[in-house]
């Protein structure tokens, strides 16, 4: 009760301070989170939608991207190199995982779930061994603010949103305008029929998994200046992106955008009122309640 009253007091105080500028800042902070969530969740959604594989190591692919930037920095390369390398490194790693592990578990969701969770524990521990346990600082590639009409915002976050937008456009282009995308959609609908039509399903699966992993790696690399990087940072993003996928409605690429918008903006605005951890918990609770009434997702039929 005391806690609730305190929250309420804080809420009323903040609303009096809340002006158009800070409202816009909050919205943009939310948009930053939304962008990152989209980058992570698109990979997760594609891998699940196409292959029926639930990748619990997706959060670890995210932190592998972040640690690629840190490793590049240690080698004397700039953060931009790290960001450019991360999707390649993590995508390649994803391809290896697909060939060595996932390939044997197609269409057995619960078993892929266990195997990838084991994989995520192993990756996390290896990262601890290689990079050490605690938090890591990383070089900031792009400091400075963007000023428009007297309103300032960190330029790096604007860059982040732009990258996300580009990735969305590329993904949708690949899915709906290329030969590879056509094959992916055919396999999603009916894998046996697709195979009978001479589509090399295992190569498409490999490409899909590597692409999804690369996106997670890119997201991790882009987030290095924004969050504290630790071996445990992945799980948090994993949970949120799963809710993005479920809220958006499984098997819909466009649903991911909507789901990310809801989760990201809601969490940012709530953490303005209550503590960040409680806000995160609240968003997840709200998501569970939504699922009760819209089991097919907010944007599902």
């Amino acid at each position: 009760m005391a806690e609730a009253a305190r929250c309420l007091r804080r809420a009323t105080r903040t609303t009096s301070v809340l002006e158009l500028g800070s409202l816009l800042t909050q919205f943009l902070n939310g948009a930053t989170l939304v962008s990152v969530l989209i980058l992570i969740s698109i990979g997760l959604a594609i891998i699940f939608g196409v292959m029926g594989v639930i990748n619990l190591a997706h959060g670890e692919f995210f932190i592998l991207g972040a640690y690629t930037v840190i490793a590049a920095d240690a080698l004397g390369l700039s953060a931009w190199w790290g960001i450019a390398l991360a999707p390649l490194v993590v995508g390649l790693f994803g391809a290896l995982v697909e060939v060595g592990l996932i390939r044997f578990l197609y269409k057995r969701p619960l078993e892929t779930l266990l195997a990838t969770w084991g994989l995520s524990i192993v990756i996390r521990q290896l990262v601890r061994i290689v990079f050490g346990v605690g938090y890591r600082a990383s070089p900031h590639p792009l400091l400075g603010d963007l000023k428009v009409f007297g309103f300032t915002y960190p330029i790096y976050r604007v860059f982040l949103m732009a990258v996300c937008l580009a990735v969305i456009v590329i993904t949708f282009y690949v899915f709906y305008r290329t030969d590879f995308g056509l094959k992916i959609r055919a396999i999603t609908q009916d894998v046996e029929m697709a195979a009978a039509l001479a589509i090399n399903t295992s190569r498409v699966y490999l490409g899909t998994f590597a692409f999804g992993s690369a996106l997670a790696g890119l997201a991790g690399a882009l987030m290095t200046p924004e969050i504290t990087i630790s071996p445990e940072a992945g799980v948090n993003f994993l949970a949120r992106s799963f809710f993005v996928v479920i809220l958006g409605g499984i098997g819909q690429l466009a649903g991911v955008l909507g789901g990310a918008l809801v989760v990201g903006e809601l969490e940012t605005f709530l953490s303005y009122l209550i503590s960040a951890t409680t806000a995160q918990a609240a968003v997840l609770l709200i998501a569970i309640v939504i699922i009760r009434f819209r089991p097919r997702g907010l944007f599902g039929g």
Binding site: E3, I54, L101, F104, L105, R108, P109, L110, E111, L113, L114, A115, W117, G118, L119, S120, I121, V122, R124, Q125, L126, R128, I129, V235, N236, A239, F242, F243, I246, S275, T277, T278, Q280, A281, L284, L285, I288, V289, I291, R292, F293, P295
Partner: protein, 334 residues
């Protein structure tokens, strides 16, 4: 036939479990006692995973809830009697939570992997809230939970001081819990659960309310997990946020998978063996342990899906190949 063949195994098991604390020494007796508590916890997971076919990735939430309730009662209630009320609450509250989750998930036909992912998040929510909330001790947890008291009548009871007494108490509780679970899975209700596990659509078509029954099963499972959490609080004397955590939820899945899911006994076998192994290995190489846990997951999925007890049973009583049921279990088996 089966019962008489199992008799020597049963006798040997009884002899070993009863005799162990006499030769094991204080350290290993306490380790075994803790493994028994974990065994009850693992068995409660097995009820859902092995018999309802639903894997809960956040089972530690129930365990932690049970433990924290006892610890809070011990702190807030003056003259708290650690005999009945704590246990009752620590069974009822997790069961209630499981009922609520069941209403939100099973009734929305959120089952299988979706349920697993959502429970993964539920346990994270709990850990976030508990570590953030000062009244619940924050990251430090709650200290000073009293030890076990065996009370036969108000005013008449024993405090269990020695580790051997505690071991025997936990052993008898474990046996009772096992018999209870065995009764549940062999009852008509348990048989319908087996049908739901094999083919939920068909069972529903037969007129069974699958959402309702699965929710009931998850409430039983959660109540048992809460009980084991309460036992743990009394046993160790303190509770902390990791009890709710994802890692602990992961551990219990490993115990069940190693011991053999869908066997009940396997839960205890897995809990004891893995915890012994952990105690031995962590002494040497803390770093390696998590790598081994990760490897356990992958290895059990690929090479060892039946676990220890399941594999032994298959060797002794090979499943008849010709029966269609065997085929359907292979397909439906997770």
């Amino acid at each position: 036939m089966r019962a008489t063949r199992g008799l020597p195994v049963l006798a040997a098991g009884a002899l070993i479990t009863l005799g162990l604390p006499l030769i094991a020494g204080k350290y290993y007796t306490e380790l075994l006692s803790q493994a028994l508590i974990f065994g009850i916890f693992a068995m409660s997971l097995d009820l859902m995973w092995g018999y309802a076919g639903v894997l809960n990735f956040g089972h530690a939430a129930y365990f932690g809830l049970g433990g924290y309730l006892v610890a809070l009662l011990a702190r807030e209630v003056r003259g708290f009697d650690p005999s009945y009320l704590g246990y009752a609450l620590s069974v009822l509250a997790p069961a209630g939570l499981a009922g609520a989750l069941g209403y939100f998930l099973f009734y929305s036909h959120v089952t299988g992997v979706y349920f697993t992912i959502i429970t993964l998040v539920v346990t994270m929510i709990f850990q976030l809230i508990v570590s953030d909330w000062y009244w619940l001790g924050g990251m430090n947890g709650l200290l000073g939970v009293p030890g076990f008291v065996l009370r036969v009548w108000p005013g008449l009871g024993w405090e269990l001081d020695s580790e051997v007494e505690v071991y025997y108490l936990l052993l008898s509780v474990s046996v009772l819990c096992y018999l209870f679970c065995r009764h549940v899975v062999r009852s008509p209700f348990g048989l319908v659960m087996a049908a739901i596990k094999d083919n939920p659509e068909r069972t529903e078509f037969f007129g069974y309310d699958t959402a309702y029954l699965t929710t009931i099963m998850s409430m039983i499972s959660a109540g048992l997990a809460g009980l084991s959490g309460a036992l743990y609080a009394h046993f160790s004397g303190f509770v902390s946020p990791p009890l709710f955590g994802l890692n602990f939820s992961t551990d219990v899945i490993v115990w069940v998978a190693v011991g053999g899911r869908g066997t009940l006994v396997g839960a205890f076998v897995g809990a004891v063996l893995v915890n012994l192994l952990k105690a031995i290995i962590s002494d040497f190489l803390e770093v390696l342990w998590l790598l081994i846990v990760g490897a356990f997951f992958i290895v059990t999925v690929f090479f060892f899906p039946d676990g220890i007890v399941g594999t032994l049973r298959k060797l002794r009583w090979p499943a008849p190949r010709s029966l269609p049921r065997a085929a359907s279990m292979r397909e439906g088996g997770v």
